[in-house]
C-alpha cells in the first residue's frame, strides 16, 4: 500500500470508528461523544499503524501499551479494540449496560484488554509511567507506553507529578498524547483554567514536544513516526483537535463533552460523517451483540 492509500484507509477507519462511537452512545443514551470524536483520527493512526499489539496474543508481554487516561472517552477505546479485531463490533452496542464488559469508563476488571481502569481524571499518566519503568527494567526495549490525556485533564496536579517524574527519569519509552481540543465540561479551556503555553511548559519539565494538527493524517503520521525515535526523554504529542470533529453542526461546542445525541441528532451526525442515517440499519450493520474475542478468554488469562 502506498503512503497516500494507507492514510486514506486510516481516514476511513477513523470515520467508521466515529460512527461506532455515536451509535454506542446514542443506543445507551449515556456517554461522552465530544472527546472520542476529537481523538478518533490520531488514535486510529496509533492503533492501526503504530501500536505493537497482537490480536491473537493480546497479553504478549512485550507489547506496546495504551492507556486512556481520560476514561470518559471509553467508547472510543472500545471501538478501537473492536475494529482492531479484539472482539466483535456488534458487542459495542452493549456499552454501559449491566451485563456488558464495556463499562461506562474503561474497566480492566471486566475487559482485560484495557491496560488500566480509568475514569477518575489525572491518574493514567502515572500508571503509564510505572509501566514504562517496568518495561525498561524487564528489558522490553521495543515496548512503548502510550497515554492519552484530555487537555482539561491536565489541570489535575497529579498529571504534573507524573510529568515531573518522567522528565526526571528520562523515560524515553513513554509517549503522552494530549487531545488538545480546547474544551472541557464548563467551557473552553482558556476560560476555565488556561493550559497554554503547554509545549513550553512540557519542555521546561524535560520533555520532547511534538505538535501536530490532530485531524491532518500526514501530520499525525509524522508525529508518531518521530515519537518512535527514542530521544533520551519522554515525548509529548500535542494534537490540536476539535471537539465533535466530523460533525460540523456540533463541532467545538463544550456542551457535547458528555451529552448523548437523541435519535434526531444522531441521524444528523451520521449524515455529516458521510454515512447513511438509518440508525436501525446502522446498528444492524455492526453485527450481532456477542463478545466473541479473537482468542477465547479462558486461553488468555
Amino acid at each position: 500500500m502506498n503512503a497516500n492509500n494507507e492514510l486514506n484507509v486510516l481516514k476511513a477507519t477513523a470515520q467508521q470508528i466515529r460512527r461506532d462511537v455515536l451509535l454506542m452512545i446514542n443506543n445507551a443514551q449515556s456517554g461522552h461523544p465530544g472527546g472520542p470524536l476529537s481523538a478518533a483520527d490520531y488514535l486510529t493512526v496509533l492503533w492501526f499503524k503504530y501500536l505493537r499489539c497482537d490480536v491473537k496474543n493480546p497479553f504478549w508481554e512485550q507489547r506496546d501499551r495504551f492507556v486512556m487516561s481520560n476514561g470518559h472517552c471509553s467508547a472510543l477505546n472500545y471501538a478501537l479494540l473492536a475494529r482492531r479485531g479484539f472482539f466483535d463490533p456488534g458487542y459495542l452496542l452493549t456499552f454501559r449496560t449491566l451485563e456488558s464488559r464495556l463499562v461506562g469508563h474503561p474497566s480492566r476488571v471486566k475487559l482485560p484488554f484495557i491496560e488500566v481502569s480509568t475514569g477518575s481524571l489525572g491518574q493514567g499518566l502515572s500508571v503509564a509511567h510505572g509501566m514504562a519503568l517496568g518495561a525498561k527494567l524487564r528489558g522490553w526495549d521495543d515496548a512503548t507506553i502510550y497515554c492519552n490525556c484530555g487537555d482539561g485533564e491536565l489541570q489535575e496536579g497529579s498529571c504534573w507529578e507524573a510529568i515531573t517524574s518522567a522528565g526526571h527519569r528520562k523515560s524515553e519509552n513513554l509517549v503522552l498524547m494530549v487531545d488538545y481540543n480546547n474544551a472541557q465540561i464548563d467551557g473552553f479551556v482558556p476560560d476555565v483554567k488556561e493550559l497554554a503555553p503547554l509545549a513550553e511548559k512540557l519542555r521546561a519539565f524535560h520533555w520532547r514536544v511534538i505538535e501536530a494538527d490532530g485531524h491532518d493524517f500526514e501530520q499525525i503520521d509524522r508525529a508518531f513516526a518521530e515519537a518512535k525515535q527514542r530521544a533520551g526523554k519522554p515525548t509529548a504529542l500535542l494534537f490540536r483537535t476539535v471537539m465533535m470533529k466530523g460533525c460540523p453542526s456540533f463541532e467545538n461546542i463544550p456542551g457535547w463533552h458528555g451529552r448523548p445525541p437523541t435519535d434526531d441528532e444522531a441521524r444528523v451526525m451520521l449524515r455529516e460523517l458521510g454515512f447513511d442515517d438509518d440508525l436501525e440499519k446502522a446498528r444492524a450493520s455492526m453485527g450481532n451483540r456477542d463478545f466473541h474475542p479473537a482468542v477465547p478468554m479462558e486461553e488468555q488469562l
Binding site: L98, S120, I185, V192
Partner: protein, 326 residues
Amino acid sequence: MKTPQLQSVLPSKFWKMELTREGYGRTLVELGHENSRVVVLDADLSQSTLTKYFAAEFPDRFFEMGISEQDMMNTAAGLSLTGYIPFLSSYAVFLTSRSLDQLRNTVDYTRLNVKVAAAHGGISVGRDGPSHQSMEDLSNTLVLPNMTVVVPADEPQAEAVTRWAADYVGPVYFRLGREKVPTITDGESSFEHGKAQVVIEGEDGTIIACGLMVSEAIKAAELLATEGIFPRVINVATLKPLDTNAIDAAAQQTGAIVTAEEHSIYGGLGSVVARHIAESSHRVPMRIVGIPDIYLTSGSPEELLEVAGLTAKNIAMKLKEVIKAK
C-alpha cells in the same frame, strides 16, 4: 421526643420526583441574593452539580477552579479565612478521595467554615460505572472529628440543608444525588440539624434510613403494613452528630432495628448505628442494608439498586428477620 404525623407522608404512588441537586443549585442563588458573603466554587462540573445557576447570577462570586479538586478545597479554605462562606461542589467520589487530605488537614482540623456539597453520591449515579459511584464518602467524612455529615432525603430537605449550612459556622459535608428522588419531606420543617425525624410512627421495629433509602423505607413500611407489620421509619439526615436519642427510643420502644443507606456497609450509617447499639445497654437485633463490599458496574440506577439490595423489598425482609430475632 416529638414525632411528625404519619399522615404527613403521602402514599408512594402520589410521590413527586425531584432532584436534590436542583434544590441545592436554586437555593444557592437565593442565598447569593441574601448574603454577599456566600461564594461558590466548582471543579468543571457546574453543569452537573448545578452551581451553574449561581455562576450565571453571581459571576464575581463564583470560582471555576477547573479539574483541580485539591486546589478547589483549599481555595475555599482560604476564602473562608477572609470572611466568606464558600460552598464547593464536585462529585462525592472525587471530593472525598482526591481532595481528602485537604479536607482533613486544612478544612476539618481548623474547623473552617467550608461547605462541601457533593453531587452524585451513591451508586444511583448509574451508567458512568464504579469510578463515578461513591460508596465511601460517608465513611471518609464521618471519621473527621469536626465534620457535620448530612444526607438529605429529597429536594426540600436538600434546600433546607443548603440554607442551614450557610448559617452554621463550621465544616459541613452534604451529599446530593444524580437522579430524581421522591419528595417525602415538606419544605419548611424538613431539616433540623442533628435531629432525626420519625416519618412513620410504629412499634414493631424501626427502619433507620438516610437519603434515597428513606423513600424505600417508607415503601417497605407500606409493604409490611399489608402483612400487619407496622415499623417506625426514621429519616436520619444528620449522620454526624448522630441523634442517639432517636435511636435509643427506637431500640427501647420497637426492639428491632434495620438501617438502610446508599453507602458501603463499612463506615456509614449502619456502622455508626451498630457502634452505638453495641456500646449501649440495648440488646436489640439489627441488620444493615447497604452496598455490599463490592464494586458495582454500569447500569440503570434501578438495576444497580436492585443488584445491591437497596430496595424496599429487601428492607422489609430484613425487618421481618429482626422482628423474628427479637
